[in-house]
């Protein structure tokens, strides 16, 4: 808050470090291919700008810049760009005829203006920073906004709210059918199933494998009657013909499960044979795969 406003070394260093970075970030608008890279660079430029504001003793403006522009506006841009597709790049088609020519003329005009101001204008020494920041910077800003510029502030607020409401109204569509919730959907699925429809959606599809016997992805699950469920093996394996043959694999076991009798851990002769056959099958499939 020095009255004479000398530029300290720290300030100069910060400026000359930040300024080239910001210019490079801004140039990405012209040269970067991917929209996300542009969005990130612009976010970087905005942060640089915020640091500049803070350096110029306007911390409120600097932080508001980050909260509003980087945190909200740019984030929404990024959000949309991201959803537009990872690999989408900018279209370089000229939509308005003579767009480029006009842009070049505009740029030249701007350059001339900036150079003229920088070289010819003599600005008076800046005064009043200490006075403006006397009761901390946010209080100074608040006095201006809610005192001298209250009318402009309220008008802007009204404009923004109107815009937000307008967006809501324009994007609002009236529902043609009642909303289907989770409970209604489940009920509808079960009712369809009860009328003889498919069980799909009522129960999840069976996964492959026979519990505790053969767990690999090529082994179809068995239904309650001991028949293999083909859908439980992924399509790729079935198409390649790599699905394991189960034939009448565990008919005996399945029958016993159906009776509800407790399972006996030891294997009898037939089962041992089954298992050997299974292992053999597994090995041959493995070899086939290799």
């Amino acid at each position: 808050m020095n009255a004479a406003l000398e530029i300290s070394t720290g300030e100069a260093v910060l400026f000359w470090v930040l300024a080239p970075l910001m210019v490079a970030g801004a140039l990405s608008l012209l040269f970067a291919k991917r929209p996300v890279h542009i969005a990130v660079s612009i976010a970087g430029v905005m942060i640089g700008l915020a640091v500049m504001y803070i350096m110029l003793e306007a911390p409120f403006l600097g932080v508001a810049q980050i909260v509003v522009y980087t945190g909200a506006v740019m984030m929404l841009f990024l959000f949309v760009i991201m959803l537009a597709g990872v690999d989408s790049s900018e279209s370089l088609v000229e939509t308005i005829k003579g767009q480029r020519g006009i842009a070049v003329v505009g740029l030249l005009g701007l350059l001339i203006l900036v150079i003229t101001v920088l070289t010819r204008a003599s600005l008076p020494p800046a005064v009043g920073l200490a006075q403006a920041n006397a009761d901390t910077n946010p209080v100074g800003v608040a006095r201006l906004i809610f005192g001298d510029y209250i009318f402009a502030f309220e008008l802007t607020a009204a404009l923004l709210i109107t815009a937000a409401l307008g967006a809501l109204v324009l994007s609002h569509r009236r529902r043609l059918s009642p909303k289907v919730g989770q409970a209604e959907l489940a009920e509808a699925k079960l009712a369809a199933y009860g009328k003889g429809g498919s069980a799909e959606g009522v129960t999840p599809p069976a996964g492959p494998g026979v519990y505790a016997r053969h767990n690999s992805a090529d082994m179809p699950a068995l239904d309650a009657a001991g028949n293999p469920i083909d859908d439980s093996v992924v399509t790729v394996l079935r198409v390649r013909g790599q699905e394991a043959e189960t034939a009448d694999l565990d008919a005996d076991r399945v029958a016993r499960i159906a009776t509800g009798a407790p399972m006996v851990p030891e294997l009898d002769g037939a089962e041992r044979a089954d298992r050997a056959e299974l292992d053999e099958q597994a090995e041959t499939t493995k070899e086939n795969e290799e």
Binding site: V36, V63, M82, P138, R143
Partner: protein, 465 residues
């Protein structure tokens, strides 16, 4: 206009005084904060695993070091020493900077958090236990939190894979919506504290913590804090059951460790902000001040209270994680937009009206006398009575149980008279209220082949049922 604004400022008690700090003091403080955060994260890993284990009736890590305390160090080392994979489809530059953004933003919040009051170091040097403070500290915290989202969003996008992208999209929507509720809750504190500087907010809580005076704002802040740090019940960006690991799916080794670090530091961040803004910061809990005098509210004691309060919130995070289930995404968004934000907004309006009446008219609501007692005493009395009544009502058992499902729109099934039909709608259904499930035919078959003695059967039936 200027004269009207003056009374609000008259309340401010002055920010911490950093005039003694040189650049070297600031560097030392910054390094100390960095160390504090890194050690706290290591401790938090152990803390969370132990507490979760307790909730699940097991012990948790208890082998390496006293109480298993150093378990986090080999875990962290393991993570760093793993192979660093960069997926082929990734956008290399952004893939690399995303975790860096996350972790940098996480570290930056503690710069404005006061750890304690002015302390005297050996050698007579006095300095506040805080790296720095600005008149816009709270806004700074919100801004940095907003920047932290970039890490998650860019990480999810640059992985070039669908689950991370979905996680990133969810995370953006989540953090932006919950930041609104959070900001509104914080603004009501700013209104009553009359400042955005963290040290001044702590100073303004000398007599009364804002958590009590502004309870609705505190509750809204706490809930949004869970959304903000992506933790259960709001961990939708990394919901394991749906999105593998959300935006972190394609990250490994050091880069994953950075995301992980950022996540835990963010927990410490919201805990610190809640402590500073609502729980009196480094101020001692008032029963202790009454018991032991003003001494416990000064100097290095502040550091102790501050850290204790942070870990109170950390415990809350773990407790909630161990207790609650994940929300469904649409329910979660509806809750944020249709409950939290309106509540915070209405509360903010009330607080603003109260403050307006206090400062811009000669009528001071806090000075009302009700039968010789001040309004504050009366309000606290009413609150106390209400709390007692609530506790008593909890203790009185309900006379005549009401049906479990209540409220408009909910269907309360009528007790059915007809016998139970297991395939009522053409598909298997459970019995309605009033109907009895017939005994299982299968159970009879299980028990009959063994043909045990009569008394044993009944025993078995009991345990089976």
């Amino acid at each position: 206009m200027n004269t009207n604004l003056a009374p609000i400022l008259a309340r401010s008690t002055g920010a911490a005084d950093f005039s003694n700090d040189t650049i070297w003091v600031s560097v030392i403080k910054a390094v100390a904060i960095l160390l504090f955060l890194l050690l706290s994260v290591l401790f938090a890993l152990w803390f969370e695993r132990r507490i979760i284990a307790r909730f699940q009736q097991r012990l948790g890590p208890n082998v390496r070091g006293p109480f298993g305390l150093v378990q986090s160090i080999p875990d962290a080392l393991k993570l760093i020493l793993k192979e660093d994979i960069t997926v082929k489809a990734a956008d290399k530059v952004i893939y690399l900077i995303a975790p860096v953004i996350s972790v940098f933003c996480a570290f930056m919040i503690y710069a404005v958090i006061p750890f304690g009051p002015m302390v005297e170091l050996p050698g007579g040097f006095t300095t506040p236990l805080q790296l720095t403070d600005t008149p816009v500290s709270i806004l700074y915290i919100l801004g940095i939190t907003g920047l932290g989202v970039y890490g998650i969003v860019l990480g999810g996008w640059s992985s070039g894979s669908s689950y991370p992208l979905l996680g990133a999209v969810r995370s953006t929507a989540q953090i932006i919506s919950y930041e609104l509720g959070m900001s509104l809750a914080l603004v009501s504190v700013l209104l009553v504290a009359g400042s955005m500087s963290t040290s001044e907010i702590v100073n303004s809580q000398e007599n009364l913590w804002w958590a009590f005076a502004l309870l609705p704002a505190f509750v809204v802040y706490l809930i949004s804090a869970f959304g903000e740090v992506n933790r259960l019940p709001f961990d939708l960006p990394e919901a394991e059951g749906e999105l593998v690991a959300g935006y972190q799916t394609e990250y490994s080794s050091m880069k994953f460790a950075w995301f992980y670090l950022a996540e835990y530091i963010n927990m410490l961040n919201v805990a610190a902000v809640a402590t500073t803004v609502f729980m009196g910061g480094w101020r001692a809990p008032w029963p202790l001040v009454t018991l032991f005098g003003e001494g416990v509210d000064q100097g290095w004691w502040g550091l102790l209270w501050f850290i204790l309060k942070i870990w109170l919130f950390m415990f809350l995070f773990v407790w909630v994680r161990a207790t609650l289930l994940r929300f469904r995404y649409d329910q979660f968004m509806a809750f944020g937009w249709k409950v939290l934000i309106p509540v915070a907004l209405v509360w903010l309006g009330l607080v603003a009206a109260f403050q307006g009446v206090r400062h811009f008219t000669s009528f001071d609501p806090t000075a009302i006398d009700v039968g010789g007692l001040s309004l504050r005493t009366v309000l606290f009395g009413i609150a106390g009575i209400l709390i007692v009544v609530t506790i008593v009502m909890y203790l009185i058992p309900d006379r005549g149980k009401k049906p479990a499902v209540e409220g408009a729109g909910a269907k309360v099934p009528e007790p059915a008279d007809e016998p139970f039909d297991a395939f009522a709608g053409g598909y298997p259904v459970p019995p309605l209220p009033g109907q009895k499930l017939p005994p299982s035919t299968r159970r009879a078959r299980v028990t009959t082949p063994a043909a045990p003695a009569e008394d044993e059967t009944t025993d078995e039936e009991k345990t089976d049922g």
